[in-house]
Symmetry: D2
Subunit: 302 residues, 4 copies
């Protein structure tokens, strides 16, 4: 169960008591507020607060471009224009705050996105709970044989069993020892800030994470991507589902220009031009390395 | 008149139509929403949106410090503790967005605070309005004779009149010429992005400015300070009045620890210790330079 | 003359006295050090200091990817890989510091790039020099008739003369009045922080600007672009020439993937796939708006 | 042994081959270049590169304040003035890059300082080494009985032995299992990005960390402080020793105004004023809470 009874009670109370505001309201996001979306075995993402909507993006853009934006007939068109031309500042005018529960090794990747505000549960001050991420059988992947950072086939049989047993046993034992070390019955009890060093990276932590929409899109482009590690990608996908309801026009533009788009090099563009004129282009005549050519083929073959 | 009729109509419509939300609501800030506070002769600040309140600061802090915060009996005490110990991340969990109209030379100081989001009216795309900041008689100060960045006495008599006439005439003429250059009657008309270079730094611009509470406090500490230039200080003071109503406990802590507080050096602290023991300490025996001693005297004499 | 005699003397002294260091040295950049590249009529860019080179980028990448980078045979290939896959952090390991003299309206665009360090000449403390940007005849462009932010044909004849006369006269008069207002002969003299408001946006300012290579590339992509205003583009181009000599491999990758590349949307990629299969695709059948289609044609027709 | 033989060979080669540069050189820092300072049982900090020195800080300040800085007679005085008045931008003109080897739980605290550039060893791509932080006997502290985040007395006797045995055994076993899971003899081998989740937070990682001097001072103020966790404080202290030699004047100002200084609230300043007039002030009559009063006493009693 991802939420404690106390957290659930707080959420229920908040959801039961809507209040009046003069601010911009996104009905799509109101439906998500405080409702945790479960992720992995014990994790979740829930929206705690948000600022702005599609109209707020356009409002900010129209301050910048003034009468210059009159020619773009409607908000959707304006938002697509902004996304296409990398005009990022209007998207920065929307902000969102999530409460996330996630394994420490996922948190370590996530925190590398620096342009965000974070308050994480502190294991210096407080005692961590006995909750560890243990992958499902279908997520226990082998090391890729072709890609240093990728996953290959799913482990099977004895090997899968051995791995699961190790992960469960080591996590359980590490937590037992953590409790023994900090315990104060008949002993002084090790400082929490030291005892935590015994806990493995699949233990869960939690944090409040606040970010503007431009930087959130940047995070989602990298982390909802097929090359991202599965365990962070599922968080990114849960957030995508919320952002789609929060700012539908901006999210659609993001899907078209970023998630589904691709950046092509000058060399790649030149190849496309030659191909469209009917020329047969091969890796050897493309001017690209083998790796680039393989990626290029992936893009133009879809 | 700081707002155009169109802007005022938009504001009136928005104020007339409160909506329901599940988000945190600050009643004090709702009263300010969309209501422009006039600043200088044509400028204003108005709150366009906000996220969070005093409780949101504590909520984030309690995630970080978990059970460790139980000992602090209430939210006000916790907020004072956070401010005193420079725990800035919980304050970053609140966000606010302002629409500001301000002279360009003020905008140039303001923008140096980098950790904020900005959409400014673009004079590349659009035509600036004929509105210039002309100081009131009582704000026409002479150069300080003791301080390179300070102001001295107020100008009087002929000198004051000459200065005002110059500022008004030059601004009017520059704007006439701006219009002539971009005009397209019987000529091509200079590009806006070039014509704007003729306009002086007291012309008004406007922008949306969005910032988190921690960085806003940093801005206010520097710009609501007595040493800040008067023309930006009045904006900071207008914002202070809104923040006081938005997050009363955080603002009170900010006033006590930042606006009204002082940072003393190791040398200054040592002097205080000696003085409290009854020793007579002078600049010569203090280990401080004359400048530091003068500032130190200012602090301990109040 | 862009540099004062004092500045030139300082530069000459520094260039005459090389010192020994154990740090990474980029011979290409050493040749640029302290040598101002003239820009516009009174401006310049000069490199004041730098950290790192192509090898430093690879060194940082190899810490991150460890044995995983063994497969990329050489530094150039590794740098291209990093650029292609948006691995920005190794590029952040290089840093550069410029001294720039530039018109205020250019400075106002430039400063919007927030991830940089800046120390600007302060007109609160000091007196600005009588130097204004006056465009050359061939840079006096008309407003574009098709694009709100663009330039059209060059102004000619009487119109060009009128514009130039206005710009020169107004700048000269504004500066005369600035001097009169701050003068202290027979009067108190207006505070500098107030008097500066009378100066137009084509007056020159100067600053130290320090930035990492990743963020510099971002700046250059936007500002060395054909859509950037000419007056900032010439600064970006002067910097490009220095960066090319500083980090040749990284600059070549930047040229191929960013300056010469293009980001295509999912819709545009789908059109290319259909076209490569021999289908005739028109704007109507493309799923793109007219504006997008026009831009897409621009990309694939080169 | 903190460095691998390959790393040591690279360092020796670099130290043996000084090169010429026109850049600013800090002799004090050259002596530290590439020389790792050992920290904890397997960690280190070494300077990889730096930009600027005390003179560079003054150079940037003099661009900003122009003739306004003439009155400050020398560089040391100017640097003290800048530090005292929170003029942070000149300090941002210096940059430094460290290579650090540190336990993961220290890295997790460190990374919260966002305004820096980082390239960390990736356990997705590469295999971590078998190196764990095991505290020395004298660093095995009990939980503080008065402070949720503090340490109390050192553990003794059986308890200390039990804790050390747990930490060593669990680390060793976790690493054995890590190797078993990723091994490919007779099995597929678990993906590295998954296997790493079994490793505890005292395993060592390493990174390149680049930061400007202003933000470094902020880091050092918080992490070289007596309240910081011992295991990060020793890294901060090792860095302090390098910075002292790199920018002696700036470091001395930092020590006086930040490390040795204190920020007093308006209430605390008022108490000092009353005390200096001879009044007996107690916590009850001070207007401060018990916690604040205790901290205040700590400051004025030294």
């Amino acid at each position: 169960m991802p939420l404690t009874p106390e957290q659930q009670a707080e959420i229920d109370a908040l959801r039961a008591a809507p209040r009046q505001t003069l601010r911009t309201v996104s009905e799509g996001m109101e439906a998500h507020l405080y409702t945790p979306a479960p992720v992995l075995d014990h994790g979740f993402v829930r929206v705690v607060d948000y600022m702005g909507d599609d109209a707020a993006i356009c409002q900010a853009a129209r301050v910048s471009y003034g009468r210059g934006t009159k020619s773009v007939s409607n908000d959707t068109g304006l938002i697509r224009y902004l996304m296409r031309h990398w005009h990022s500042t209007p998207f920065e005018m929307c902000e969102v705050k999530f409460h996330v529960k996630l394994p420490v090794f996922v948190a370590r990747q996530w925190i590398r996105h620096r342009t965000a505000n974070v308050n994480e549960y502190s294991a210096r001050y407080s005692i961590l709970d006995r909750e560890f991420y243990i992958p499902r059988a279908q997520d226990l992947a082998a090391q890729s044989t072709t890609n240093n950072q990728g996953r290959g086939d799913v482990l099977t049989g004895d090997e899968a069993e051995r791995v699961l047993r190790i992960l469960k046993d080591d996590a359980g034992r590490a937590y037992d020892h953590y409790e023994q070390m900090i315990g104060q019955e008949g002993q002084q009890g090790l400082a929490r800030e030291l005892a935590r060093m015994n806990l493995p990276a699949n233990i869960y932590t939690q944090w409040y994470w606040k970010v503007d929409l431009h930087n959130l899109f940047h995070f989602l482009r990298l982390r909802a991507d097929a090359h991202a590690q599965y365990e962070i990608r599922v968080y990114a996908e849960a957030i995508c589902a919320m952002v789609r309801d929060w700012v539908p026009a901006a999210y659609a533009a993001f899907e078209d220009y970023r998630l589904g788009g691709a950046t092509l090099s000058a060399a790649a563009l030149e190849c496309i031009r030659r191909m469209l004129k009917g020329e047969e282009v091969t890796q050897e005549t493309s001017g690209m390395s083998k790796g680039e050519w393989r990626e290029f083929m992936g893009v133009i073959e879809g």
